[in-house]
Assembly symmetry: C2
Homo-oligomer: 415 residues x 2
């Protein structure tokens, strides 16, 4: 832990034309990410003691908001677990997908909190579901009485490695992806790989997109591991049915999360808008919202990465051989290389303009340099985008795995 | 400025059953409260340079959200000021009162921000209006892209001394007063007393209630000043038409704000729920929402203070002579002592229960000790509340100023 950086706090008064006050204060934030398989096996005490900041014991009450699909599969185990430990849990099922990630869903969680009569500080809401659900519940909790603690239990791979470990909450507003939200870390996130056994392969791929992102910008080792074991680990749904698969699954998840947290921790509130974890997130918000509900989040992200890999190839920062490896891994992970929205040059220009607005007047575009490294650029032009899209289309059509570009779009492997 | 308190930041990884990460980070917050009369007189440069963090100059764009009543009175001056300084200002008028302080109003501000295409960090929204308006705009800004800066220009007394100087934003949700909100200070608040010249006396009184609160818990000197000059300063609407009135008005506002900021600064995110500035805010949220739209916020607060003064009298912490002075000042400031909802013992009990929920399981009730001091109690009983209400009713009926209790309720002086 670093510490000792100079912070200032206090109240200062000066007089100019009248009194002028300056208020300075410092907020310490701390949160935990705890791995534990089989969270709802009655003998597992991780949820009771795993987060020392909010212990849970007999007689305590908890509001549990669970994705309705997860409820159908695991709701009985969840209820039985809390009953076994004499925790008075009220379980509320919520529909949560990108199309309903709007204020109305937040309002439903607020209604549940009101109905439960939740205590302000000592009864964290427990959110069980994918990234959309944990984003919605985290947003509601962060607003309720200006901040009620919450706990995340991601049940999807993208929730495990991405949405579940950061501090961002939020919902879409009209076509604005996560336009409204807060920075509000869950007190703790509990990572339980065993949920992935029931996840369809398309959603496994969806999470692998964010893992691939971390590899492409930060770690050639992780990329190489995805290249050699990614497809097998995907087919195994990270369940570790052989010792080798277990080791690969553990390493892929832990490395991806560790790299992500290394990037997030020094910049938790995005005081710097040059964020390499925004790789794949320059064009994808517009692509995703435009194509909704056709593309999952990770699919939109990987299309953005394919496009910017092509762009980096044109710039000479990524060799054609490296790009071919990247495209091959994307395919092997069951992810799309292309979507026809890339044929619309205006859409890409608009996406870039919107990103500039989001990044305070500059592009601050993370671009890959080789595999595992990156730099930031501010000089991407509409013409360059069109050229990159044209190059990518060729690459995508040349794929031995894809009968046609259309097939890559409409039927991600394993959906 | 104090500094040097130990904060920790960094990423720590341990291994239990699987990897466990702890993320620690520290956020530095700073905001300014700047007094300047006649903000929109063309020669006044406070808005351009008064906040060094966000200078404003020719060619800059600003979204201005203004209360529709304020727009009718001052909109032309506001537009002329920005035009004079070559600032491209888009002025959006919004209805803002307690009955519409709901999510829909936030949504309208978000629409305006979308329409304006606001930049994420460099184009603070300027909010001009009372506390309700600045709470709504501050809430919207704090959520937009997870935090867009904003600037407050309060136009009411309660906005100047209370809503405008703290860090809380929010809206009501159903009957829950400010049930949803954020801690998000305005980059700067500009205090301009001259707006008060057009404020009706009932709203002057509304602000005086929060000033009286600070006096009762923190400063006998401020109380004495309110006792001797409050009524005259009120009638003068804080405009300082004589030198003596100007001095009293300046002192009352500056002292009240300074005491408030002294209390807020060390506890900006309410990590301690024992807040003396919550005096008058134990029963008033329920009273206010129950009586909506009959009572203004300050009126509900002052009724709560009258009730708890009676309660402190019964406990022997406030003498009858001191209570009589308090009641006399309340009347002299044009504020009500009583509302018939106090006759409903269940309402008071519910309000206390709701407060306990809000204060994490304990009453943490600030009660006056004499005049200008306070302590916290956790043992108020329903019977005691009924006795205090009965005592207050007698006091209110004995008032030489009030023909009847009803008159105090339905017609605040100067409305």
């Amino acid at each position: 832990m670093r510490s000792g950086t100079a912070f200032t706090q206090g109240l200062r008064q000066a007089v100019d034309n009248g009194p002028v006050w300056t208020v300075e204060a410092v907020r310490q934030v701390r949160y935990h990410v705890v791995s534990s398989d089989g969270l709802f096996i009655p003998g597992n005490t991780a949820l009771l003691t795993g987060c020392p900041d909010v212990p849970l014991g007999p007689g305590d009450r908890r509001l549990v908001v669970i994705d309705e699909n997860v409820d159908a599969l695991y709701g009985a185990s969840v209820r039985a677990y809390f009953a076994h430990h004499a925790v008075d849990a009220e379980v509320v099922a919520l529909r949560a997908d990108e199309t309903v990630k709007q204020w109305d869903a937040v309002s439903r969680v607020v209604d549940a909190m009101n109905g439960f009569g939740i205590d302000r500080r000592r009864e964290p809401v427990i959110a069980i579901g994918g990234g959309v659900l944990t984003d919605i519940v985290g947003f509601a909790a962060s607003l309720y009485r200006r901040g009620t603690p919450y706990i995340r239990i991601p049940t999807t791979l993208i929730g495990l490695v991405d949405a579940g470990v950061g501090v961002k909450t939020g919902v879409n507003y009209e076509l604005g992806k996560n336009r409204l939200g807060t920075y509000a870390p869950a007190t703790a996130t509990f990572l339980d790989r065993s949920f992935l056994r029931s996840l369809d392969l398309r959603h496994i791929s969806n999470g692998l997109a964010e893992i691939l992102k971390m590899a492409l910008i930060r770690s050639e080792d992780l990329f190489t591991l995805l290249e050699s074991r990614g497809a097998a680990v995907r087919a195994d749904r990270f369940q570790g049915t052989t010792r080798e698969l277990a080791s690969a699954a553990d390493t892929i998840i832990a490395e991806s999360i560790h790299l992500m947290l290394e990037e997030l921790q020094p910049n938790l509130w995005e005081s710097s808008l040059e964020r390499c974890v925004d790789y794949g997130h320059t064009f994808s918000p517009t692509i995703e919202m435009h194509a909704l509900p056709e593309l999952l989040h990770g699919e939109a992200v990987v299309i953005d990465m394919a496009l910017t890999t092509a762009l980096a190839t044109l710039r000479g920062d990524v060799s054609q051989a490296q790009a071919d490896r990247v495209y091959a891994v994307i395919r092997a992970l069951g992810l799309p290389l292309w979507n026809d929205v890339l044929d619309d040059p205006l859409l890409l220009e608009n996406a870039l303009r919107e990103t500039v607005r989001h990044r305070d007047g500059q592009q601050r575009l993370p671009l890959p340099v080789g595999i595992g490294r990156h730099h930031f650029v501010n000089d991407v032009t509409p013409t360059e985008l069109r050229d990159a899209a044209r190059l990518l289309r060729t690459q995508a059509q040349e794929s031995p795995f894809a009968a046609s570009v259309g097939a890559l779009v409409s039927a991600p492997v394993g959906a």
